[in-house]
Symmetry: C2
């Protein structure tokens, strides 16, 4: 697990994700317009999931967008191309931390610090589960809510 729960060089997170996405867009002929790029940057500001209206507020602060469809379109663009993920349990969004990999992520939602981590090893697992019943998987959602190591360590120090 690329551990977003633990202290880390977040500027590097942000920068490398942005660079990777920019390259991917160039390669794939996708347009990372100002609204889309700023939306990604907003999600990259932290590892907390943001709701569409949270993102909209920030876009509005920047004068880039001020109506719900604008935020949803940018978020949907990012999600469709794997640059962000929708967290179903939270009706919210996070930037992808593996934007280079074609993946079905598992999302780990800490109920204490509210950060959301992502791992990529879950895809083949779902495929395997589905095969049993002859189910052909189109998209797979795996989300866990619980507590991260860091928060458990801290609370045991009380």
């Amino acid at each position: 697990m690329q551990n977003v729960f633990a202290p880390h060089d977040h500027a590097n997170c942000t920068h490398s994700a942005l660079t990777t996405v920019e390259r991917a867009c160039a390669e794939r002929g996708l347009r990372l317009t100002p609204i889309r790029k700023r939306t990604l940057e907003i999600l990259l500001e932290g590892h907390h999931a943001l709701g569409a209206y949270d993102v909209l507020q920030k876009l509005s602060d920047d004068g880039l967008a001020d109506k719900p469809p604008m935020a949803y379109r940018a978020l949907n663009f990012l999600v469709e191309h794997g640059f962000a993920h929708r967290v179903e349990r939270l009706n919210a969004y996070i930037a992808c931390t593996h934007p280079d990999a074609d993946h079905t992520p598992a999302l780990w939602i800490c109920l204490d610090c509210h950060k959301v981590a992502e791992t990529v090893q879950a895809a083949e697992l779902g495929q395997r589960l589905g095969q049993e019943g002859g189910f052909s998987i189109n998209t797979l959602t795996i989300e866990a809510e619980g507590s991260c190591q860091q928060c458990r360590d801290e609370s045991s120090n009380d």
Copy 2:
């Protein structure tokens, strides 16, 4: 996979689930009030997920409830006690087909026939995934969207 996608004796599905839930409530001192029981029956009418407002409409037809909180309370009761599941991807609910088992279900959503199936073998799997990063799982959501065997068989006969 208890195959809800294939033709089956649905009256038996309904009856056995209801009986199991009634017994569980008796054993555990839970009150299966008219609204709650009717809500479960409504969900048991088919294997399609129903939104809270769909359920509310039916409760209203029966004169049992006519305000959103009433439907949400009944649904939340059923979900809390494992008698129904919320389908996050659909913002909707299904009756549990294994109400006797303490389980984390995986849900299989067919995009063609729109039925939703449930399997129980997924719990330890999530625990295993989470252990890797020291994450302690409280609740786990596993949902697949795709196509069931039956729908694929039918469409290949065209």
